[in-house]
């Protein structure tokens, strides 16, 4: 016996969560474009899409975030923090790959120096994930050793019922239990057949790829030039990625007052690593694409024991020139290391 949340009760739940102080957020489609957005009613959700166009990370690591306000007055500088928003958030209808993306970045934002802008939001959020019954040509979670019903990073996992009229609710954390407690009266005990999970074929053998990447001899392989020749050096793959975390720090204002901000930045950009002297350690697009792949599947796991990719496939889905992690790793897996 597990608990079932029927779809027709979802709006009651949203209202209940809202009155419990949560801002309720979920996938919303507007003008054929979808993102995780705050909603008023359950009817605002678009739960039929494979996954939102934009990833979940931006609710925790926004594209631009004010950090400090500075004012200079008569030989003294006053620096004032922008504290991250402290409100509670419940994010409903998250895809397992997006939820996994959050837990992938936790150690990065936490090693030695804790980035409060990330963690304050993490601590105030409940992630309610819905397992996937649909996938498209670009989904690759299974290749990353995740699955359409992975629980990584989620507080509650909902498994869709076969009749498409609700979900089995599985609590995974204390935070998840509390969120379910709040809507207890709308849950029903029962056991209904659940819908089959989406079939996501494995696109490549990850271990083979990682072995090739870890071999120092392949760092300067001709492969990198060939695979990245058509890369135009935009940042759409990194900006839509649920795990890419690189950023820039920029001041806006003048000497007397202004705001220091944290802005997304991308390893695809030529200026990302450019020294003022003009020397650029990653001066070619192939070096930059190599950095992205190496970082995700070699450097990052070397430090944090987890791949910096959760297999959402947005990079390939959105690439203006049809590149992406899938193609690169597929090709690597056929190379002999």
């Amino acid at each position: 016996m597990t608990r079932i949340l029927f779809s027709d009760k979802l709006d009651n739940c949203v209202t209940r969560w809202q009155s419990a102080g949560f801002t309720v957020i979920g996938p919303v489609t507007k003008d054929a474009f979808s993102s995780y957005t705050a909603v008023e009613h359950a009817s605002d959700f678009d739960l039929g899409i494979v996954l939102p166009d934009r990833s979940l990370k931006e609710l925790f690591f926004p594209q631009t975030e004010p950090m400090l306000r500075y004012t200079l007055k008569q030989q003294s500088i006053n620096t004032e923090d922008f504290t991250p928003p402290s409100g509670k958030k419940l994010i409903f209808g998250v895809r397992p790959c997006d939820a996994a993306g959050l837990s992938i970045d936790d150690p990065l934002f936490g090693w030695d120096y804790k980035d409060e802008y990330w963690f304050q939001r993490r601590n105030n959020s409940v992630i309610v994930t819905i397992a996937c019954t649909k996938a498209d040509d670009f989904c690759l979670c299974t290749s990353l050793k995740l699955a359409p019903d992975s629980t990584t990073g989620s507080d509650i996992l909902l498994r869709p019922l076969e009749n498409n009229n609700g979900w089995h609710a599985e609590e995974l954390t204390d935070r998840g239990r509390e969120a379910l407690l709040a809507i207890e009266e709308f849950l029903q005990e029962g056991s209904e057949p659940t819908a089959p999970m989406a079939v996501v074929p494995e696109m490549f053998d990850l271990d083979t790829c990682v072995a090739w990447l870890q071999n120092p001899e392949n760092f300067e392989s001709k492969f990198w030039k060939d695979i990245s020749m058509r890369c135009i050096g935009c940042g759409s793959c990194t900006y839509l990625c649920p795990t890419c975390h690189c950023f820039d720090i920029q001041d806006e204002g003048d000497t007397y007052s202004g705001i220091r901000r944290k802005n997304w930045d991308s390893c695809s950009f030529a200026l990302f690593t450019m020294h003022t002297s003009g020397h650029n350690p990653r001066s070619t697009q192939s070096a930059r694409w190599r950095q992205r792949i190496m970082h995700k599947f070699n450097y990052f796991p070397g430090k944090f024991s987890v791949n910096s990719c959760s297999g959402c496939g947005r990079c390939s889905r959105q690439c203006p020139v049809d590149m992406g992690i899938t193609e690169t790793l597929q090709k690597i897996s056929t190379l002999h290391s």
Partner: protein, 149 residues
């Protein structure tokens, strides 16, 4: 909008004609509205659209660009280039919803002190009627606000 709204107007002017015209207005003791801040440049051809965006970014309600009459350019054709540029940029701003009423262009020679004073008064009045550029200022305010989610 309160009656006391005083528009902030930035004028980019060429040093050879309009700036000299402004000088003449001053030495002729003509009175004109104090709302316009003059920025002097060698030529209207030097005025990049970036300047206008910067002025708006810093909260200008209106912008005035003024230089030598066609044929009078100290650099022979800087103002002809500028004229084409403004034609296109003005249309772009209009399409973006930045009313052309807020971005004005004029030719004023060094001898036209009176025209300068009149122009400043008229432009100030026009912009005062339009009121503050609230839509743009709202964008500026957003950049100073803390993150909401």
């Amino acid at each position: 909008m309160s009656e006391t709204f005083e528009p902030k107007i930035i004028a980019f002017v060429c040093t050879y004609c309009t700036y000299a015209g402004a000088d003449l207005a001053g030495t002729s003791r003509l009175k004109y509205a104090p709302n316009v801040r003059l920025i002097r440049l060698p030529c209207t051809g030097r005025i990049s659209p970036m300047f206008i965006l910067k002025a708006l970014q810093k909260g200008a309600d209106g912008i005035l660009i003024s230089g030598c009459h066609p044929g009078d350019c100290h650099f022979t054709h800087g103002n002809y280039h500028a004229r084409r540029r403004w034609m296109v940029f003005r249309s772009l701003l209009d399409f973006m919803g930045i009313s052309t009423e807020r971005v004005k262009f004029s030719w004023i020679s060094a001898a036209e002190g009176g025209k300068f004073a009149d122009l400043i008064n008229n432009v100030t009045e026009d912009i005062r009627k339009l009121g503050p550029f609230d839509q743009y200022k709202e964008l500026i305010r957003e950049t100073e606000a803390p993150a909401t989610l």
